[in-house]
């Protein structure tokens, strides 16, 4: 249905193929969070890998940031309708974290946990093969608290709520378990190109 009188702002055609349906390009970097920005000091920071309920390995900030550093520049897409192109991140690939832990065979599902109690589920396959990282830097600077610092998960090919801010654990699970927003009406997978915003979207 065309909306009477609506033409839309002229969108730069050369970027059109990088903006998923229903999204608008922004040059800003909006902040969306379910609650207050938690205060996490680097001294208290830790990151844990779990298989089911069992902790497998735990890193302090110094230990995690001593792992190989990788840069990743990606387009990101927030379910609240904005997309931001060419965002430059640095951090540690999930592949490198798993290699350090000596984990090769993993359960199919992952729940990412955060310091503020937030969680989000991502299939394990979407975290490996160079697709995701624990990001500690944005535009060459330490990640600010409002954007998830000290460290956030970065899974740029899914809607950005999957890139959990203030991450402190990845928990591998045999069956898919919904996270915070997924329990509150949002899509279980969240592919922006298929516009999987809400539960019930195909």
């Amino acid at each position: 249905m065309a909306t009477r009188g609506f033409t839309g702002k002229t969108s730069p055609a050369d970027y059109a193929d990088r903006i998923p349906p229903g999204q608008s390009r922004t040059d800003g970097f909006p902040v969306l969070s379910a609650g207050p920005t938690p205060r996490v000091s680097l001294g208290d920071w830790s990151f844990t890998l779990k298989i089911g309920p069992r902790p497998v390995m735990r890193w302090t900030w110094e230990e995690l940031t001593a792992l190989p550093q990788t840069k990743m520049t990606r387009d990101i897409h927030c379910v609240t309708k904005w997309s931001k192109l060419n965002t430059p991140w640095r951090g540690v690939l999930i592949d490198d974290i798993l290699a350090e832990a000596g984990l090769t065979s993993l359960p199919d599902y992952t729940l990412a946990h955060s310091f503020d109690g937030y969680s989000t589920n991502v299939p394990t396959a979407d975290l490996i093969g160079g697709k995701a990282m624990v990001a500690t830097h944005y535009e060459g600077q330490p990640l600010t608290p409002a954007h998830g610092g000290p460290a956030r998960l970065l899974v740029p090919h899914l809607y950005f709520w999957k890139s959990a801010k203030w991450i402190n654990a990845l928990q591998f699970l045999e069956r898919d378990e919904a996270g915070f927003w997924e329990l509150r009406g949002y899509h279980i997978y969240g592919d922006p190109w298929r516009e999987q915003r809400y539960r019930g979207d195909q």
Partner: protein
Amino acid sequence: MMDTTLEEGHVQWQEAVIERIERQTERVKSFFLRPQTWRSFRAGQHLDVRLTAPDGYQAQRSYSVASPPEFEGLYELVVERLEDGEVSPFLHDVAEVGDAIEIRGPIGGHFAWGPEDGGPLLLVGGGSGVAPLMSIVRHRAAVSRDVAVVLLQAARTWDNVIFREELIGRDAAEANFTLLLSLSRDTAHRPQDYGRRIDASLLNISLARLGTAPRLTFACGSNAFVEAVTGYLLDLGSDPKTIRTERFGG
């Protein structure tokens, strides 16, 4: 907690007719939408709005519902006109009563309140961030007036206070509802209001008005506003698990 109001139908796009448009302030209008199929919702939830150009280009935005679920058949959206916006200038300058737009929802299971959540409640709104809080204020007045609520609302000036007359009326009429206005570029027009930005002391005063620690705090506004408010609340010892935020802009 599962979003129990969510059904498959909530995510289907449908047409809604603009039944009424009311000017709230210089830059803010309320749009009353009558959808083909109205569904009840939790106070605080939002609608997605979709506009389609003749060439098929579509723009989507989310707007909080300001009406309560008691207001059957209609959804009231509060839209601030953003100079560089795409959807809000269309709604303000082009859309007319009788036009149809597409909507889906209401959606969102976190920034929402129902009587089962109890109280007391601290609501903190910045500018048009009052919209979902208004739905909570109205819903609480309809279903659980024993729940104590303080609404600390920030605006630039007295004339920028969205829903001003209704809120002042509720402040006078409802025993457990208190409105405190924080006007950053104006003087206080009522003895209980403040001619300054929200700071730790205004939040402390709001908390003191409630008497006991709020069961839930809802803060909605620009990211800078919400970041400042929640920072003060954490400094004052509020439990972060009781604070829910909704942010816009960036």
